[in-house]
């Protein structure tokens, strides 16, 4: 059984590694935006050398790790699974002797591992070449960072799974996806460090699962605060959101009626 999920991980990896030129194009966009976002965020240091615990080096590191994570955690969401619900292909998926959520997660882990290899490392290397980055200085920090990225992928998967499940109830659930895409950039801490926000907004944003996707791994990498509470925040959201996904899936399959014969 486990072997089957491992094959799904490999399949996910292979599926996304097929489109090389599309990958290069996506990379080019991430890198161009990386350079521009560095210039934008560095303007806050015109008057002071430190802003909310960030210095210029940590700020550019924030940008390049964020640009690298975009494709790894699919920050703007994806609609593949929802499309299968809409078209009815989901019936075939449910007939398979596999746990649907686990199977989709396995495929997503495969996709994310390819994204880590191709879409994460290149922006980071370009950042290292042109800027002075602040990266983890000990093996322990690197391990914590790796663990944090894995948890970020799990949280992002759990959110995308829940969003796509809405397709069971709404014929056109894409409006909801576009709302999610519109707020995720700021809430996840991709657009601007959450620490730059006023106090009340920081508390509100950290009460959502979104910072677990981008800001938490970045904080661990640049050494803002201790790693354990951040990892605990991420793990808590993984458990809550995956459980919610199972619950909603169970409700969805109960009401599912497939048309046609």
């Amino acid at each position: 059984m486990l072997a089957c999920y491992l094959r799904l991980i490999r399949a996910g990896f292979r599926r996304y590694s097929t489109y090389r030129q599309a990958m290069v194009a996506g990379l080019a966009t991430n890198v161009v935006f990386g350079f521009m976002r560095c210039a934008v965020l560095l303007t806050v240091f015109a008057a002071s050398a430190q802003v909310a615990g960030y210095d210029p080096s940590r700020t550019v590191t924030f940008v390049w790790i964020g640009q690298g994570l975009i494709a790894v955690v699919l920050i703007w969401g994806n609609a593949d699974f929802g499309e299968r619900v809409r078209s009815g292909d989901i019936a075939v998926d449910l007939l398979r002797p596999l746990d649907l959520q686990a199977a989709l997660l396995a495929e997503d882990l495969g996709r994310a591992s390819f994204a880590l290899l191709a879409r994460f490392t290149v922006p980071l290397l370009i950042g290292l070449t042109f800027f002075n980055l602040t990266l983890p200085s000990s093996a322990l920090r690197w391990t914590a960072f790796g663990l944090s990225v894995l948890l970020a992928i799990l949280v992002s998967f759990a959110i995308r799974f829940l969003l796509n499940l809405v397709a069971f109830w709404l014929m056109d659930w894409r409006g909801l996806l576009s709302l999610h895409g519109a707020v995720s950039t700021v809430l996840a801490g991709l657009a601007i460090p959450i620490a730059f926000f006023p106090g009340w907004a920081r508390v509100a944003i950290w009460a959502t699962p979104f910072p677990a996707i981008i800001q938490a791994p970045i904080d661990i990498a640049i050494g803002r605060g201790t790693a354990l509470p951040l990892l605990a925040h991420q793990l808590a959201w993984v458990v809550v959101l995956l459980a919610a996904g199972r619950l909603v899936l169970a409700r969805a399959t109960q009401k599912l009626v497939i048309q046609g014969g």
């Binding site: 161009v32 303007t43 008057a47 056109d172 409006g175 657009a191 601007i192």
Partner: protein, 262 residues
């Protein structure tokens, strides 16, 4: 005439699900607001950005937002060109006695962008109401013509960038770096950028003329980059030139196109 029915059909299909359309409009408005939040948060930490105060930066942001939203609505569907070439759908469009570009743009006319455009207009209204600008007929004229010149400039960038797809079929997302990149670049004072990024995105891709120079003209402000004042009034001329270059690029692309074959 035919274009009008194509557009009407596209609009009707989008309004078929009113609730979903409202959500998508809201999503577009939120996207624009989110970009503004970034600017506001930055200004809560620093007094000026590239020589611009918060109000002045918001003027640039709103002008760029209006032009980008309009261009995205009118020529954004060119992003699908790669798919049309790969699937051979483009051949069908070319067989019809209509412009291929107009057909592509009319097919996926995204009315939901009105959410982003409306938000940008609201920000512009707020900035104009709360800023102390000494209006002259010339400055009013610049303000009125800027959304249009910005639309032509973004449109030219979009068309020229998309035309590269005729050569790089599989890299059809490559234009995004320039089109959406210009969207981000032009919404900030270009004086915060420097080096190759400034030269490329402000002058080779004429991003500085979308909102930055018109805003300087409206505010009666000297250019922090120290370039001649005449640039502040040259956006219409640059827009015409850019449109010419884009038209040539598109024609060259179409002439190069021989289908993907099977």
């Amino acid at each position: 005439m035919v274009y009008r029915s194509l557009l009407a059909a596209s609009v009707r299909s989008q309004l078929a699900y009113p609730a979903s359309f409202a959500l998508q409009c809201t999503g577009q408005a939120l996207l624009q607001l989110q970009n503004m939040v970034v600017i506001l948060v930055l200004f809560s930490r620093v007094g000026e950005m590239g020589g611009f105060t918060r109000q002045e930066a918001l003027l640039i942001f709103s002008l760029a937002g209006i032009s980008f939203g309009l261009a995205d609505m009118l020529v954004g569907p060119l992003d699908t060109l790669g798919r049309l070439v790969r699937t051979g759908t483009l051949d069908a469009l070319l067989l019809r006695p209509l412009s291929a570009m107009a057909q592509i743009c009319a097919s996926d006319f995204a009315l939901r962008r009105l959410g982003a455009i409306g938000t940008a207009f609201a920000v512009l209204g707020y900035v104009l109401a709360t800023s102390d600008i000494s209006w002259t007929p010339l400055r009013v004229a610049v303000l009125l013509i800027t959304p249009l010149t910005g639309l032509v400039l973004f449109g030219a960038v979009w068309v020229a960038a998309s035309a590269t797809t005729f050569w790089l079929v599989e890299g059809s997302e490559l234009p995004n770096a320039v089109t959406y990149g210009s969207g981000l670049f032009t919404s900030y004072p270009v004086s915060i950028f420097s080096g190759w990024l400034l030269r490329l995105m402000a002058f080779v891709v004429p991003g500085a003329f979308v909102a930055y120079y018109p805003a300087l003209a409206i505010l009666g402000k000297p250019d922090p980059l120290g370039l001649p004042t005449v640039l502040q009034y040259s956006a219409p001329l640059v827009a015409v030139l850019a449109a010419g270059v884009a038209a040539l690029a598109w024609r060259a692309g179409l002439r190069h196109y021989v289908g993907t074959g099977s």
